[in-house]
């Protein structure tokens, strides 16, 4: 695994949790690489994707992975709900933000969005579309939490609800979940998604 090769290995001193850099980068390459297994990381590092999303990484061995991403001038995001070993609470967010220096966190929970914003990292809140009856309450929760970005899953539902979401939530949207073919990516981008998130390496430009 690639690690930083500076004299004093470690995290960058100033972590960039600013949205402007991310928005500009997605303007050029609108894809985030989702890392499900460590062995997928080198390919993501070598690609042009501006952001890497870590799912299921072990929290207390995450530092070198995050720093390898940042050493390639990419932004590193960690899915706190899925990460092993870390409390899903303010202390867990503070650890990711201060000790590891992630650029952003991903969560389904409104309470963690506020904690992420307090730590000045980018907050990506997942809008999980498994049930149309639950959509209005899920959108109210997001409207109240005000994350920086909404990640809508699964991608196949996005075209069905894009107008409803955009009228309720004036936030940038990343579409993820079973985005496995170029047609899925294009369908999301054509309907106004800021980017797609995908674990399919063939879609990492």
């Amino acid at each position: 695994m690639a690690t930083r090769t500076t004299v004093t290995p470690g995290r960058p001193r100033a972590v960039d949790g600013s949205m402007s850099r991310l928005l500009e980068a997605f303007g050029h390459v609108p894809v985030a690489a989702v890392i499900r297994r460590g062995e997928d990381l080198p390919r993501a590092l070598a690609s042009q994707v501006p952001a890497v999303f870590f799912l299921r990484a072990p929290a207390f061995h995450l530092g070198p992975l995050v720093w390898a991403v940042q050493a390639r001038a990419k932004l590193a995001f960690v899915h706190i709900d899925l990460i092993a070993g870390l409390g899903k609470d303010r202390a867990g967010i503070a650890f990711l933000a201060r000790d590891i220096g992630v650029n952003g966190i991903i969560t389904s929970h409104s309470g963690l969005v506020a904690a992420a914003r307090a730590e000045k990292v980018i907050a990506v809140q997942r809008l999980l579309l498994h049930d149309d009856l639950a959509l209005p309450s899920a959108m109210s929760a997001l409207d109240h939490a005000r994350p920086d970005i909404v990640e809508v899953l699964p991608g196949v539902i996005f075209p069905l609800v894009v107008n409803e979401i955009r009228s309720r939530l004036p936030l940038p949207i990343i579409v993820g979940g079973f985005v496995t073919e170029p047609a899925h990516r294009d369908a999301a981008l054509e309907r106004g998604a800021l980017a797609v998130s995908t674990s399919t390496p063939e879609l990492w430009p």
């Binding site: 989702v34 579309l129 049930d131 149309d132 009856l133 699964p154 196949v156 079973f178 496995t180 674990s199």
Partner: protein, 186 residues
């Protein structure tokens, strides 16, 4: 041929489904206790009633609630994301339908690999609209019958999920219940 399972939430939608001739319904939302009389009456007349234990109000997720559904009300089955609740339900001879969210490949595979013994009667994939896309992943892991719930807003979407291999598809929309019988499922 697949089956449409109307998802009802109150007495009015229950009556609409029954008036259209459906002999099976899913109580997907709302308070079970507020329409327990009509539901029990339908069950006595042979209508198969399924309950989403994760979303209906008024029931605890415990064996007393399951005994009430199975023994007092004569319901047919229950849906839940919780494997242990379904294990308990199988003791009351309820049909057990394991709900699994198909939101991304990581979550779907985790859900499919967490199926426990005794095997559920079926798995319910949510959203059902994703079934055509995810059926290969499902079938690579389990041969359990597949139901679908969520985001079915047209008879064509229901037919697509059934063509992809789902045995049962649920929708909360009366238009879909009406149109469904006119849509041939090949």
């Amino acid at each position: 041929m697949g089956v449409m399972l109307p998802a009802v939430r109150d007495g009015a939608s229950l009556n609409q489904a029954l008036d259209l001739g459906y002999r099976q319904v899913l109580l997907e939302r709302g308070s079970l206790l507020s329409i327990v009389g009509p539901l029990a009456g339908a069950a006595r007349q042979g209508v198969a009633i399924f309950v989403n234990l994760d979303a209906v109000e008024g029931l605890a997720p415990d064996s007393a609630a399951l005994a009430f559904l199975a023994t007092d009300l004569g319901f047919s089955g229950v849906l839940s994301v919780k494997p242990h609740l379904l294990q308990e339900a199988s003791r009351f001879r309820l049909r057990t339908i394991q709900r699994i969210h198909a939101l991304d490949s990581t979550g779907l595979e985790t859900g499919l690999h967490s199926l426990v013994s005794p095997a559920p009667f079926a798995i319910a994939i949510a959203p059902a609209v994703a079934i055509p896309q995810v059926m290969p992943i499902i079938r690579s892991i389990t041969s359990t019958p597949v139901w679908g719930t969520g985001f079915i807003s047209s008879a064509e979407q229901a037919a697509e999920a059934l063509r992809a291999g789902a045995a049962v598809v649920s929708s909360a929309r009366i238009e879909v219940w009406r149109d469904f019988s006119r849509t041939p499922v090949s």
